[in-house]
């Protein structure tokens, strides 16, 4: 019984430890839950300029901490999403957004998936068509076979 209590206490301690281990990234108190929602949204959409393949929500680089703090301050100051993104882009370039604005430089990025999809559909349609054409050609029967087919069809019709 005593052992059991000890095990339970140990487990509880481990559980508490895991909580602190996960809380490495600082938390901010928002005055409005809607702001917190937007903070989550924007921090996953902004890219860490230093680590490049992480968003600022996931990264623990000093620059990401600064950007999160800035994001928090701007949200609390009442800036809208567009203003915040403009502010970030003015400093770190379009690179900082995971969803860059559509422009001459990013046109290829935005249009490539659509173009590739169209190419794929076209290729698929052309392939299927040529196959159907072949099958259609092979489906013409000679006189004897045609006669047998009609006989068989006639039989099944009588049976049913």
């Amino acid at each position: 019984m005593k052992m059991n209590v000890l095990v339970r206490v140990t487990l509880l301690c481990l559980l508490l430890l895991s909580g602190t281990a996960r809380a490495v990234i600082e938390t901010y108190e928002f005055s409005d839950p809607e702001l917190e929602q937007r903070y989550r949204q924007l921090s996953t959409e902004l890219r860490c300029p230093k680590c490049q393949n992480q968003n600022i929500a996931d990264s623990n680089a000093p620059i990401s901490q600064d950007l999160r703090k800035l994001l928090y301050q701007q949200l609390e100051a009442g800036a809208n999403d567009e203003e915040i993104l403009d502010y970030m882009v003015a400093r770190y370039g379009e690179f900082v957004r995971y969803r860059p604005r559509f422009s001459g430089a990013t046109a290829a990025l935005w249009l490539a998936p659509v173009l590739l999809l169209l190419v794929g559909i076209t290729a698929a349609v052309l392939t299927l068509r040529s196959r159907r054409g072949q099958r259609g050609g092979a489906a013409t029967l000679n006189g004897d076979d045609e006669q047998r087919l009609q006989d068989l069809l006639g039989k099944t019709e009588k049976n049913s």
């Binding site: 300029p49 230093k50 600064d66 800035l70 003015a90 400093r91 770190y92 370039g93």
Partner: protein
């Protein structure tokens, strides 16, 4: 003829892909284009390192100069420091931006290793760094006489970087054809 060509399609695709990947080998994925190139240096008003006195944007403007972002916690800054001292000795004006650092540690650093800077801006909170789009030290900005950012180098400024990239631009901006 058409089916023959089809046979070569995988080869053509492979060659095209290989060309792209080969190009990728010589690209630096860490190099980001600065959003600030050909734009004026942002306004600021920050204390001079180790003093109460404030330094403004207007104090830096007026001649072609380098703005070097450094900190005592930055290992690469220690690597480039002797070279900065050397080019400052050749008469290149360098301003320092002491980025998110401790003033006392920075003063010790300059006392020990030499001070190549005309003046040091103490950006303790990193606010000017943010306006400049700094994402790690060291970074070096080349300013023209009107205070417009003309070039940004991320990483250590050594002899190679200075002679191949920064010095030609510097000389072009100062209007000197050769010699510093």
């Amino acid at each position: 003829m058409a089916p023959r060509l089809k046979l070569f399609l995988p080869l053509i695709l492979f060659v095209a892909m290989a060309a792209f990947l080969f190009r990728g080998l010589s690209l630096d994925p860490q190099a980001l284009p600065s959003a600030l190139i050909d734009r004026p240096l942002p306004e600021f008003s920050l204390p001079v390192l180790g003093q109460e006195q404030l330094i403004q944007r207007s104090d830096l403007v007026g001649e072609v100069a380098l703005l070097n972002v450094w900190a005592t916690w930055c290992v690469s800054c220690r690597v480039e420091h002797p070279y900065l001292v050397q080019i400052a000795g050749d008469g290149v004006p360098i301003y320092g931006l002491n980025y998110k650092d401790d003033d006392a540690a920075a003063a010790r650093w300059l006392a020990q290793l030499g001070d190549p800077y005309r003046a040091n801006i103490a950006d303790r909170e990193g606010s000017l760094g943010l306006d400049l789009g700094v994402y790690g030290a060291p970074e070096t900005y080349l300013l023209d006489a009107a205070g417009v950012v003309r070039y940004r180098h991320v990483g250590v400024v050594d002899e190679r970087v200075w002679q191949t990239i920064l010095q030609p631009l510097y000389l072009e901006l100062t209007g000197k054809s050769s010699g510093g």
